[in-house]
């Protein structure tokens, strides 16, 4: 279907079903129970899952296929965000022009940076991209936000003010928030089913549909002759060059495509929440997408999406568990024991979420070098292996020695 082979089609369908049913899947615990702390099915986090999924899918096209490790992808995310908010400020709150412009601007930006950075490979390429990203961050944070020429609004973050032109905005008919032809991105339909509450958010479904399109495009790129060329770059670029083939146009194209993915993710971030801050461009943000890709499995289709979800889950869920919550969980224990248990868990929650994430990251990298995807494969193989074993055990045959 859609020009994909059977396996890829089933992957795409599984992803589509999971994404569409996410409000149910991510809210497994009744909203009144203590475990509701672990529910992730609220609009903001679901949006983050799919948007950073797009970011990571795009990054994986560059890193997973060509092996070029860019440490500056956050710059494109930031540029996309700023473009989108500028469209809100100038044209009005419809998200389409903003998203389109963010893709275009980040594409041009990626072309410029890629043209310079791709003259080097390996660690030098990484450092160049990192330098460009930090430069963009400094520009956005202070240089381009001085009162005379305020492009980014600095530390405060670019946002829409009441006195902005918004030429096509009609406040009588349209919501005063980002919308798609009148459908507010913040519109949420709440469904109460017994003890559960499920939230269906317009912004999430827009991002989800775009994410599926991006995922489909990524599959097509992975399976195309172009993708094969990129893999060749990864395995041995020198040999490619000796055969007389100029690999730079291919790497540059991959760089621009992944930059546009990042720009699209940035645009969507602004579309669901109309404020663009400079720290989106900081090196920590660039590092985060590298972590997402490696954690999920570099070079795999579904890996980066899983990694993005994993990291965002920790950032948003674990950082919100505090001692007060812990005490309410363990209140059934005797007093001394309760305090001891809370004391033991304390360093790993709240402000310690980085620590927990770091430990898990190390475990994954050491025991599952292929990321979460490898973990899944091993699990499947183990289950299959057990089944196979039990069936062979039934009619064991002796060697015909």
């Amino acid at each position: 279907m859609f020009g994909l082979n059977k396996k890829d089609t089933s992957v795409l369908i599984i992803v589509a079903v999971m994404v569409m049913l996410a409000p149910f899947l991510l809210n497994p615990f009744p909203s009144a129970s203590g475990l509701a702390q672990f529910n992730a099915g609220y609009p903001d986090l679901m949006q983050k899952f799919v948007i950073f999924g797009i970011f990571a899918i795009g990054f994986n096209i560059l890193f997973g296929l060509t092996g070029y490790l860019s440490f500056g992808h956050a710059a494109f995310l930031g540029v996309g965000s700023y473009s989108c908010v500028w469209m809100f400020k100038l044209l009005g709150y419809n998200v389409l022009p903003g998203i389109l412009l963010s893709i275009a601007v980040s594409g041009v930006f990626a072309l410029l940076i890629g043209y310079v950075s791709l003259r080097r490979s390996g660690i030098y390429f990484s450092i160049l991209t990192l330098a460009f990203a930090q430069m963009s961050y400094a520009l956005a944070y202070s240089v381009l936000s001085n009162p005379k020429f305020n492009l980014t609004n600095g530390e405060t973050g670019l946002q829409v003010y009441a006195d902005d032109p918004q030429w096509f905005h009609n406040p009588d008919r349209l919501p005063d928030l980002p919308h798609l032809f009148g459908l507010s991105m913040r519109a949420t339909y709440k469904l109460d089913l017994g003890a559960w509450e499920f939230q269906f958010n317009a912004g999430y479904y827009l991002c989800a549909v775009i994410m599926l399109a991006c995922f489909y495009l990524a599959i097509r790129i992975f399976r195309s002759p172009f993708g094969m060329m990129l893999r060749a770059v990864k395995s041995n670029q020198q040999r490619m060059n000796y055969t007389g083939l100029n690999s730079r146009p291919y790497t540059l194209a991959a760089f621009v495509i992944s930059g546009m993915y990042a720009g699209l993710a940035g645009g969507l971030l602004s579309a669901v929440d109309p404020l663009a801050g400079a720290e989106r461009m900081q090196w920590t943000a660039s590092g985060e997408v590298v972590l997402m890709t490696i954690l999920g499995g570099a070079g795999t289709l579904i890996g980066p999406v899983l990694g993005a979800g994993f990291i965002k889950y920790f950032e948003n869920i674990f950082s919100k568990i505090n001692d007060y919550v812990l005490h309410s969980w363990f209140s059934f224990l005797p007093d001394g024991m309760e305090d001891a248990v809370v004391f033991l868990i304390h360093p790993f929650i709240g402000k310690g979420w980085h620590l927990t994430l770091g430990i898990l990251f190390m475990l994954v990298v050491i025991f599952l070098p292929g990321g979460l995807v490898e973990g899944g494969q091993r699990l499947v193989n183990w289950i299959r292996g057990r089944k196979a074993k039990s069936s062979t055990a039934a009619h064991e045959t002796n060697p015909a020695e």
Binding site: L45, S142, N153, G277, Y324
Partner: protein, 448 residues
């Protein structure tokens, strides 16, 4: 090409699915028509405490969180009641807010607008928080204030000093108790005039971002009004940790006062560099060279150690104040945690009480009713003397403290001494003052 086979059964099936899909929203009609976002319906009400737990202001954040926990304890009738006993309004009875037990959720702003907004959003969307408070940076405060305006909940700002929070970025749902850069300038100028005279040449080093500019502008205006000249203003990158290259030119500029518009780690480093360069032992234009740090905090003074001795600045509140409110707060905070609270802790504690009190007086959690109760509200007994929550810009007006680094500190907390309590009338300004112009509160938004 994909081939589509259309069968009767297929058409029926897909028709049934489509019909179910269309009918879905009408089957499950919205459970209740809430009057405003996150209307508390049960026996408890949830507040969202959004503070930096990691990053450069983690110390302030930790102290803010302690203050919030203390405030919740007092609101629910625990502890000794702290400032609830000295507060001029007696609406709070220690039985929660409107009889509902106060519960809270916490989040990490990481001092990043994005993370702060994500965390505040999860409090609103997932935990049903009806009020968000906290933060230790103006960028974050403005970002979260904007979000609360859109979502229809009240935002009670924590530590934010930039003029913009209640100036060009003010919002109808946002309220600030902390003082601002303009007030720092207005409070400091007379003290500096008495100490250093009217014929001085000032050199500014300014952290290169919104708050830094805002403060530089305010201090420059206030000091120039009393006759000082400004020799030069130099912007320093926020990430800078070594300021020696910025200090050296000061010596040759002919300036005799150095103003450090820095906060947190920046201030600790720049002040240390300046003192190491021997600026304070210099004589320029026949006068002693002086250093001024307009925004002071005890946590910063601790970081800079002996270098703060004799250096002047302004602060919102200090634990050595002797009024009943401050004494009660320091006592209950000290009893619970074993050390005195910082100004960040004070403003956060007060904001929580003010919110709870406004809800009691309004008789509703509705953000619009709460805003109405806070607007133009006069109160006393919360540590800063008689205070007004001005209706035009949601900024509190109260006395401002001018402090000096103590020469002989008696403990690691006793680092600053109050030089003067600048009366409220002296730091007041018109709501349309040029430094605050350009924004509008807009309409209060109850959400839903």
């Amino acid at each position: 090409m994909t081939k589509f086979d259309v069968s009767r059964r297929g058409v029926l099936k897909s028709g049934a699915f489509a019909g179910a899909g269309v009918a879905l929203p009408t089957i499950f009609t919205a459970s209740s028509a809430a009057a405003f976002t996150n209307e508390p319906t049960g026996s408890s009400v949830t507040l969202g405490f959004n503070v930096p737990q990691t990053g450069p202001y983690a110390d302030e954040g930790a102290d803010e969180l302690r203050a919030y926990e203390l405030a919740v304890e007092h609101l629910n009738g625990g502890g000794d009641g702290g400032m609830m006993n000295t507060f001029s309004s007696k609406a709070l009875q220690g039985s929660g807010i409107l009889g509902k037990k106060v519960e809270y959720v916490t989040g990490d702003t990481q001092t990043k607008s994005d993370a702060a907004r994500a965390s505040a959003k999860s409090m609103i969307e997932k935990d049903g928080a009806v009020m968000i408070t906290g933060g230790s940076s103006s960028g974050v405060a403005i970002a979260v204030q904007g979000l609360c305006q859109e979502a229809g909940v009240i935002f009670m700002a924590g530590l934010t000093h930039s003029n913009d929070t209640t100036g060009k970025d003010k919002k109808a749902n946002g309220f600030r108790h902390f003082f601002n850069a303009y007030m720092s300038g207005a409070a400091l100028a007379p003290v500096l005039k008495n100490l250093y005279g009217t014929d001085r040449k000032a050199y500014h080093l300014t952290a290169d971002y919104t708050w830094g500019w805002s403060q530089e502008e305010s201090i420059k205006a206030a000091t120039e009004a009393m006759g000082w000249q400004t020799v030069n203003t130099v912007k320093t990158p926020l990430a800078a940790t070594d300021f020696s290259s910025y200090i050296a030119p000061v010596l040759n500029s002919g300036a005799d006062v150095l103003v450090l518009n820095h906060y947190g780690g920046n201030m600790v480093n720049s002040l240390t560099n300046a003192v190491q360069f021997g600026l304070r032992d210099k004589q320029v234009n026949g006068k002693n060279f002086e250093i001024v740090v307009p925004l002071y905090s005890r946590l910063m003074a601790k970081g800079a150690g002996a270098n703060v001795k004799g250096i002047h600045g302004s602060t919102n509140w200090h634990w050595t104040l002797q009024d009943e409110g401050s004494k009660a707060f320091v006592k209950s905070f000290g009893t619970k945690y074993g050390f005195p609270p910082s100004q960040a802790a004070h403003t956060c504690y007060v904001q929580t009480l003010l919110y709870a009190d406004a809800v009691e007086r309004a008789g509703s959690f509705n953000p619009c009713a709460v805003a109405e109760a806070l607007e133009g509200y006069e109160f006393d007994g919360l540590g800063n003397g008689p205070t007004l929550y001005r209706a035009e810009d949601h900024q509190c007006f109260k006395d401002v403290l001018v402090v000096r680094g103590k020469e002989n500190p008696t403990s690691e907390f006793d680092l600053l001494e109050v030089v003067e309590v600048t009366p409220r009338a002296q730091v007041e300004y018109a709501p349309d003052h040029p430094m605050f112009a350009g924004g509008s509160l807009g309409e209060c938004n109850p959400g839903a």
